[in-house]
Symmetry: C2
């Protein structure tokens, strides 16, 4: 079956009423193909009369330019990809929105996908986006080896990593000051008289978790406190296990009087545990959580600015797209300690 027959077939057999093309518009308006293109793109060199005729044909046929053909011809897709961990996580919503706003300001659309913290899925997604020829990529890494992106970056895909650094590859990175923030948070507890302070965080293979753990250790060391193994619980995020970890630290011969939690999900579970606990226990959490101010006591947190992370990364990406390529850079954003009560409770021995 020759192409022309096939096309007719598709016309009738498919539920897609084939969309009109510039060629159809041109035929209807009695002008050349290129003239239609000129009108559609508001290029100069078309008389008002011709323009009107073309516009009428466009309206009559319901023509809309096929951007995917345009992209093929022009080389740029005016879209960027965002690979994050989980869109449903309240931390990534604002980040994603910030990236979107910057993209919009540059006339680009945003394609995004969740890796679900799975390195394979991250890679699959990132490469799928590259195959779509996104102009750039913002990646919140799940894995720790990004050499698979090297050919893409070399081929011109601007890439910026956010929240966690890229693995085994030289690239732009925008991070929060995880170490400093955690150190400040723990030091805050120490300043309020605590010495037996627990830490519950995610797997140390995740960069942010490792840095926050380092911050905890640094603060303890600065205060000359020897950390006991029983005070630390790593690689724990599932609510049930967080609960057991917290309860473990609060029981035993020398229970902790304060807990530092390594991320928002851990924090909310620990808040639940502490609400049931008879003795008051101090708490500082990494990441802000909604309504933290309304709890009794309010939850003191080390807050990151998720929107600023996203904005900074996206702006960096477009700078790279619009101008000459600067050397990869590591940008670190400060965190902010927000005191609300839970972190200022004195130790209750």
């Amino acid at each position: 079956m020759p192409e022309t027959a096939r096309r007719a077939d598709r016309l009738s057999g498919s539920r897609y009423g084939n969309r009109p093309t510039m060629k159809d518009v041109a035929a209807r308006a009695g002008v050349g193909l290129k003239t239609v293109s000129r009108v559609v793109n508001s290029e100069p060199g078309v008389t008002p009369d011709t323009e009107r005729r073309v516009q009428e044909a466009i309206d009559a046929l319901g023509f809309r330019r096929n951007d995917s053909a345009r992209v093929l011809r022009k080389g740029r897709t005016a879209s960027i990809g965002l690979v994050l961990e989980d869109l449903a996580d309240p931390f990534y919503g604002p980040l994603s929105r910030a990236v979107e706003e910057v993209a919009r300001a540059h006339g680009a659309l945003l394609i995004n996908g969740s890796s679900a913290e799975d390195p394979d899925r991250e890679q699959e997604l990132a490469l799928a986006l590259c195959a779509r020829r996104v102009d750039g990529l913002v990646v919140i890494p799940a894995g720790d080896d990004h050499r698979y992106l090297e050919p893409e970056m070399k081929a011109g895909v601007a890439t910026v990593f956010v929240d966690r650094p890229a693995g085994r590859i030289d690239a732009d990175v925008v991070l929060s000051d995880n170490l400093g923030g955690a150190r400040d948070g723990v030091a805050h507890l120490i300043a309020h008289g605590h010495r037996r302070i627990g830490f519950i965080g995610d797997m140390p293979r995740i960069h942010t978790a490792a840095e926050r753990l380092r911050g905890y250790r640094a603060a303890m060391q600065d205060a000359g406190i020897a950390v006991e193994d029983a005070w630390m619980s790593l690689g724990v995020t599932v609510p049930e296990r967080v609960r057991r970890a917290a309860e473990g630290m609060l029981a035993g011969p020398s229970p902790v009087t304060a807990i530092f939690t390594g991320n928002n999900r851990v924090t909310v579970t620990v808040v639940r545990v502490l609400a049931e606990h008879r003795r008051p226990v101090a708490l500082v959490g990494f990441d802000d959580i909604e309504l933290a101010d309304l709890l009794q006591p309010g939850v003191t947190v080390v807050a990151q600015d998720a929107a600023a992370l996203g904005r900074t990364a996206a702006e960096r990406l477009f700078r790279r797209l619009d101008g000459p390529s600067p050397a990869p850079e590591r940008i670190e954003l400060p965190t902010r300690l927000i005191t609300r009560g839970s972190g200022e409770l004195p130790p209750a021995d």
Copy 2:
């Protein structure tokens, strides 16, 4: 300047090292163009030896198929668009994620954008997505007139509206039972002895807000209670104005003893106001909010299942894409009353 010269120009002048194409791979492997295409797409009819040679050339050149050319040829883009109100809103995160999961299961990518509750921006976004030739569109409407999508839908863009119905157009819609949910929530307050019940909600031009208001009125009418104007505050979402509205209802000669709030953002502000109020006031909110169970008292809510809304809509969309087009349908998902304390407080006259 002829095309060939221009291309060479782009090669040297641009920071994009032009990516290798199938043609390049074919040349290097010493085979025909189509044979490369066959290997890339795992089509039959290639001897193992030829396949190996082609694969080597692909690896050596770092070739990746250009999906945007593929799309142009095949007609389908394997991507769907999602137009929502604000990605940063905790209600839309899970919804968006659910749509993404369904898309992923169908091998499609998700492009999304926020309308910021601006009808013009919604239209601009939706049409931009159509120009990209997304296969389908999930829209959370900001405006109330969607006739602009009629040509697109006729041309084959599967479209499903979520959370709010389409305006002046016949299309699939997936909604929560806003009226019923609000009626149940208000009836719950009435069952606990309240009669002077306030309502604070968004502008009635937003469908969900209007339905919830109707639910409030219906419950009051069922109980034979005449609603006073002073008990209702419409079109109010900015925290400052919500605060004033709540304070207004709680003051005066016959203050309300309970408040029903029309969405999550209103609820959190009212919770703040009530926390400062001397008399206990009952509260039921539409939409669940995180940590609602940990507040004192816990916040009773009428919860929608955001993920189910997204999943249902996306599944409907792909059913439309994969099979014959069924007639537009209106799907309504139930809401769930979650009692946590604030809605069970007795009236304090």
